[in-house]
């Protein structure tokens, strides 16, 4: 069966290769965690290195991605919107992956790893709830327990996903500290990991956290970019797109996408939420176990991110993105909530696709930039549509 055959993998040259031994991408990354967690992080690293080099692990993961998560996901040429914008826009459809976003790619990888390590329980933080749902899903599938930490503000905003997690048998723990959103859920998940590190595996939801998570999550997400690379090659005479665009919360869908194109001439663009734009407004800092660009005040207190998209409500950015920004290999821009809402509606009306608010950040930038020097007429653009919008209905009802 054609869709179950394993994907050939591209060897990527220099950028986006393995981080340094200390888990650094340039000056970012590292492992800034309490001593109690050092052995646990080291164990995850060792297990991942061995698994990733093990053809059987790869085969098992590829098979799960195919038969359970529905990979490869489609590549959709957007016909009507492309014509309106004067560009050629191709959408990588992570919204069609099981559970409705790219998060499942990473989670299936980590859950398989947790089983390999003999763990019986997954811990995870979640913002929009997509990573929580994906974690609950993988836990059910592989017979593991799941505990999901979620800011109580996000629990209100994303009640559908909360219900889904519970349906799947996961325990959802509300986090009432701080801004009661994703960053606080991350802090809480790390704290809880310390206390149950023997049985529990911490399943990080984006390219963040202590080494090896940012690297490992990118590797689990590179399936997006690898697939898109092959698919784009058959859609475009040029073989590669001129622009590769993805939204950035922690930055996992962007990292996975970029990984497939970093060795090409494509311009890589990450789009953040204005209220969570760590590259534009952040400063170097250390949070949740890694050094990167972080929204913070002059004192070093972490800032609260604000976005209509709960999944982008994160004051930091994955360390590899900070490095890609420094090196100039990728560019980071931001859009505001109004542009995002307009983009959701526009894609629905022109292409019949109801995208997640997170994903719509990428589209909003494309809509704004199309036809300008930033994204000239006729450009071939690959955009990762990281998830579907069903979870955002109540948020949209408030503004539409």
């Amino acid at each position: 069966m054609t869709e179950l055959s394993p994907l050939p993998r591209f060897e990527v040259a220099t950028a986006m290769s393995e981080p340094s031994e200390a888990g650094r991408f340039g000056e970012y990354g590292g492992r800034f965690v309490p001593e109690s967690l050092i052995p646990a992080c080291a164990a995850v690293e060792a297990a991942f290195r061995s698994a990733w080099a093990d053809p059987e692990f790869r085969r098992n993961l590829d098979r799960l991605l195919a038969v359970h998560a529905g990979r490869p996901t489609a590549l959709t040429p957007s016909w009507r919107l492309s014509a309106e914008l004067g560009i050629n826009l191709l959408l990588k459809r992570e919204d069609l992956a099981h559970t409705g976003s790219h998060k499942i790619n990473n989670v299936l990888g980590q859950a398989l790893l947790a089983r390999r390590m003999g763990k019986t329980k997954l811990l995870a933080e979640t913002g929009a709830g997509q990573h929580g749902v994906a974690t609950a899903t993988a836990a059910a599938l592989l017979g593991l327990e799941a505990t999901i930490f979620m800011g109580s503000r996000d629990i209100e905003r994303q009640s559908l996903n909360v219900f889904r997690m519970k349906m799947l048998g996961a325990e959802v723990v509300p986090v009432d500290s701080g801004s009661r959103t994703l960053k606080d859920a991350c802090t809480e998940a790390l704290r809880n990991w310390v206390a149950q590190v023997d049985d529990a595996y911490y399943c990080v939801g984006s390219v963040m956290g202590p080494h090896p998570y940012p690297w490992m999550v990118r590797e689990f997400q590179r399936v997006i970019g690898d697939e898109a690379r092959r698919q784009v090659a058959t859609e475009l005479t040029t073989g590669v797109p001129d622009y590769v665009v993805a939204c950035v919360g922690g930055g996992s869908n962007a990292a996975g996408t970029f990984a497939g194109f970093v060795d090409t001439s494509a311009q890589l663009i990450g789009v953040e939420a204005e209220g969570g734009a760590a590259v534009a407004f952040g400063r170097v800092g250390v949070m949740h176990g890694f050094r990167s660009l972080v929204l913070q005040d002059d004192e070093g207190q972490i800032g609260e991110a604000h976005s209509i998209a709960a999944g982008l409500d994160y004051p930091g950015i994955g360390p590899e993105h900070a490095h890609l920004n420094d090196s100039g290999r990728a560019r980071y821009v931001y859009v505001n909530d109004d542009e995002v809402v307009a983009a959701v509606v526009r894609l629905a009306r022109t292409e019949g696709i109801f995208a997640a608010l997170e994903s719509s950040h990428a589209l909003a930038w494309i809509i704004r930039a199309a036809g300008t020097g930033e994204l000239p007429q006729g450009a071939n653009v690959l955009m990762t549509l990281s998830g579907r919008g069903d979870k955002d209905i109540s948020a949209l009802m408030e503004v539409l």
Partner: protein, 261 residues
């Protein structure tokens, strides 16, 4: 006042109470109270918005302090006017340390008379720059060891830590617990076998009984959450002093017993 020298000079089990800087307007009165109760050193928390190793009590104390407009600079300014005769150590997270630079941060500590620094999210791997900055400024960088730390690593921590070695008694975060964790004794023993630097057990030491029990294995204890709960509940410095004094007494009696035994 040099932290390590002072601790080594104490001829008793070490009692190191904790207070969150800025938690109340009169928070420095708690320092004085601690000193009066017989503290051998005092740990001052510089509040951070995302305290990874702290439980709900200390996190709440941090939030209260931040809402009061507390900053590192304000805390150090207040501390620098004090003269309570007990060495001080700051406890905080790395983001605050690196906001200016490790060197600037340590210099500020030293200038305010704070001789020790504890940064729980900086493990050995990430410590080099901070160790250098601390050393240059005459600040003792206290490293933490945990029940999960393997032996070779324990030895390295013991070797590189200054002031004392903070032995994390339990796999978990700060907060009161019903009993001293089983892990505490073994960790303290392993550390004491590896070094002659003071080994102090902290995290989850909530009562005089816990402190006594811990002092059988280690050179002393840090007491945090159970003090901060009292402070948050409105206990006056005198009330807190009286409670802490009972811990002091219990430690001293146990120490006397052990010498006799």
């Amino acid at each position: 006042m040099n932290l390590e020298k002072s601790l080594r000079a104490a001829n008793r089990k070490l009692l190191i109470p904790y207070v969150t800087g800025g938690v109340t307007a009169n928070w420095t009165d708690y320092l004085t109270a601690y000193a009066q109760a017989g503290a051998d050193a005092i740990e001052i928390g510089l509040p951070f918005s995302d305290p990874m190793i702290d439980g709900s009590t200390v996190q709440r104390a941090s939030d209260v302090a931040l809402e009061r407009g507390t900053t590192v600079a304000k805390i150090l300014a207040e501390v620098s006017t004090l003269d309570i005769g007990v060495p001080l150590a700051a406890m905080t997270y790395y983001n605050l340390v690196q906001r200016t630079s490790p060197d600037a941060f340590c210099r500020a500590l030293a200038e305010a008379g704070v001789g020790g620094l504890i940064v729980p999210d900086v493990p050995l791997e990430e410590a080099a720059e901070l160790e250098a900055a601390a050393k240059d400024n005459g600040v003792d960088l206290v490293l933490l060891a945990a029940p999960s730390t393997p032996p070779a690593r324990l030895a390295e921590i013991a070797a590189r830590s200054r002031g004392f070695i903070y032995a994390v008694s339990v796999m978990g975060i700060t907060g009161e617990r019903a009993a001293l964790a089983d892990t505490a004794g073994r960790l303290a023993a392993d550390l004491k076998a590896a070094t002659d630097r003071p080994v102090v057990l902290g995290i989850g030491i909530s009562t005089a009984e816990h402190a006594v029990e811990a002092s059988r294995h280690a050179d002393g204890v840090v007491i945090g959450s159970s003090l901060m709960r009292r402070v948050l509940d409105g206990a006056t410095p005198d009330e807190v002093r009286d409670w802490l004094a009972t811990v002091r007494t219990a430690l001293d009696q146990e120490f006397a017993h052990s010498l006799l035994a």
